[in-house]
Amino acid sequence: MRYIFRYGVHVAGVSFAAATILTACGGDGVKTAGDTVSISGSTTVLPAISRAADDYTMQTGAKIIVNAGGSGGGFKQLAEGQTDIGMMSRDITAEERARFARHSFTVTAIGRDAVAPAVSSEIYDAGVTQLSFEQVTDIYMGRVDNWSAFGGPDRAIFAVDKEAGRGTRQVFARIVFGDKNMQAPGADLVVGSNNEEQTALAQSDSAIGMISFAWANADVRPLSITTANGAVAPTLDNVNSGAFPITRDLLIVTREDVSGQAKAFIDFVLSPEGQTHVVDAGYLPVNK
């Protein structure tokens, strides 16, 4: 009998429910007090902002907390007043605006990024270095399931998808599949952050995924896009010229009651000095 109290079956289920309610009661919540600027959201925007925040903290002594959470989570926390700045790698949706109609939001682009279909290095080295939108769509819709269809090895395609609310996913789906909410019945695994995506692609030897340029590396190779006018390589030059098609602005969002400290930080990010951090993170600066 006493063990019931010591270990408690209830603990697992009910504490989870309690957490649910705590989140639910967030409402119009309290912001972090004092001179701290709290920022959360897209893991695509995060590397640029956290670099800038480190520098800004060193220069001014201001306290800045930067957290991940994805574009959807970043917007929600900002809208509910839990943070000062939300990072987003996609636009605010109509539903999101309607949900928080009592607030007005200011969206500022701090840089530009491109998303590319990316494959495991084994597939890239075996010769699959470019795909068309139709071919990528075929993979994610489950119509093609072997790399041999694209000149690769005779190996099943392991398609890695991302959570629906993720900015990278929505941009990719909008431009490549033609609908930002398109589901991917061909997907074999769903991941969240860019970090997880990178790991999944690196651990596999026949995976395809969608990844921000800044997260590509020797194990995770971005593909060229096959178009009617030839292949467009995934380079920052091609993004800059507008030739590479899957691009988006890196955004930060604020509410109408933005604090002075948060504003000052945003001005810093947009300054020439702040923009060097955007470039260091592997993105393109905004042209002012």
């Binding site: 270990y7 079956v9 697992a12 959570e163 074999d188 769903v190």
Partner: protein, 299 residues
């Protein structure tokens, strides 16, 4: 009896203190259930039929919870199938064949194991177990329903082991002595006397572990692969999946409070709480059930 001890503190104050504590606990439980129930309104009025589907697509108003429910149950079954026999056999070994001192050491080690935060198991799962599973089975990813079940099995093993060991150790020595006196071999003593006697407590240990397996979030979320789809074929545990808890952990942060999406997530939470409550009730019933006549003589 020892009549020299001081009298306990006066009854009335103490009694109301315990009563208030008990009432607060009951009230918290009730508030949680009522709040969850209240929050499920939007999805129930929005599209209740879609709840029993297999498609989860909030953008199209489809909230099929079957894949998540399936995932939760299958992961739990895998964990129990591994941990229960292992835990009970190990408990018999420790309780019946090892010295009291060794038993003490093993039990404290187990209680430390039971106290390790689940996120630690999750990190080990992502960094090592899932990689080993992928390599060992030659798969593209180790983030599978099976991996989640394996990690859960490790997590609930200490609970099963330590409770079962208690149950076996609590069987009165006189039972064993009588059995031995009747000429039973050691294995017969264990199988025919000790285990039947500890049966209820072992069952209760299993139910406690089962509750933990169902409610576990972080470790499962990190290794299960987050695929909101029934595997094909249906019992293919070597595919990615999703449990109710991992779904909530992944999506709660992104769903707007009060929306049908949020409410569908809350409904899943409610289902989980109801399953856990049922299990708790079953465990209590098993433990409180009147022991049979033979036991009563010696207890």
């Amino acid at each position: 009896m020892d009549f020299t001890r001081p009298a306990p503190p006066s009854g009335r104050a103490l009694r109301s203190y315990f009563l208030i504590s008990a009432l607060i606990c009951a009230a918290i439980c009730a508030v949680i259930l009522i709040t969850l129930l209240g929050q499920t309104g939007p999805v129930l009025s929005h599209n209740p039929a879609s709840l029993f589907g297999t498609v989860w697509n909030p953008n199209l108003g489809q909230y099929g919870i079957i894949p998540m429910l399936y995932g939760s149950i299958v992961v739990m079954v895998i964990a129990m199938a591994i941990a229960l026999p292992l835990g009970v056999l190990t408990a018999i070994y420790i309780a019946e064949t090892r010295s009291a001192r060794l038993r003490g050491i093993i039990k404290s080690a187990l209680e430390v194991l039971a106290g390790i935060p689940s996120i630690v198991y999750g990190l080990i799962g992502v960094a090592y177990i899932s990689v080993w599973v992928a390599k060992g089975l030659d798969l593209q990813t180790g983030r599978l329903i099976l991996t989640a079940g394996l990690i859960l099995a490790v997590m609930i093993l200490p609970t099963i082991l330590t409770l079962t060991e208690d149950a076996i150790s609590n069987v009165p020595v006189i039972q064993r002595e009588n059995a031995r006196a009747l000429g039973l071999y050691r294995h017969e003593v264990i199988l025919d006397v000790v285990l039947p006697h500890a049966r209820r407590d072992i069952l209760a240990a299993g139910l406690l572990a089962l509750g933990r397996a169902l409610g576990e979030t972080m470790a499962v979320m990190l290794v299960i692969g987050s695929l909101d789809r029934l595997p094909s074929p249906i019992f293919n545990v070597l595919s990615s999946g999703q449990t109710i808890t991992s779904k909530l952990g992944r999506e709660l942060g992104e769903s707007a409070f009060g929306s049908a999406h949020f409410s569908a997530l809350v409904l899943m939470g409610l289902i989980l709480v109801l399953i856990t409550l049922t299990l708790t009730g079953a465990a209590q019933w098993l433990i409180n059930r009147r022991p049979n006549g033979v036991e009563a003589i010696y207890d």
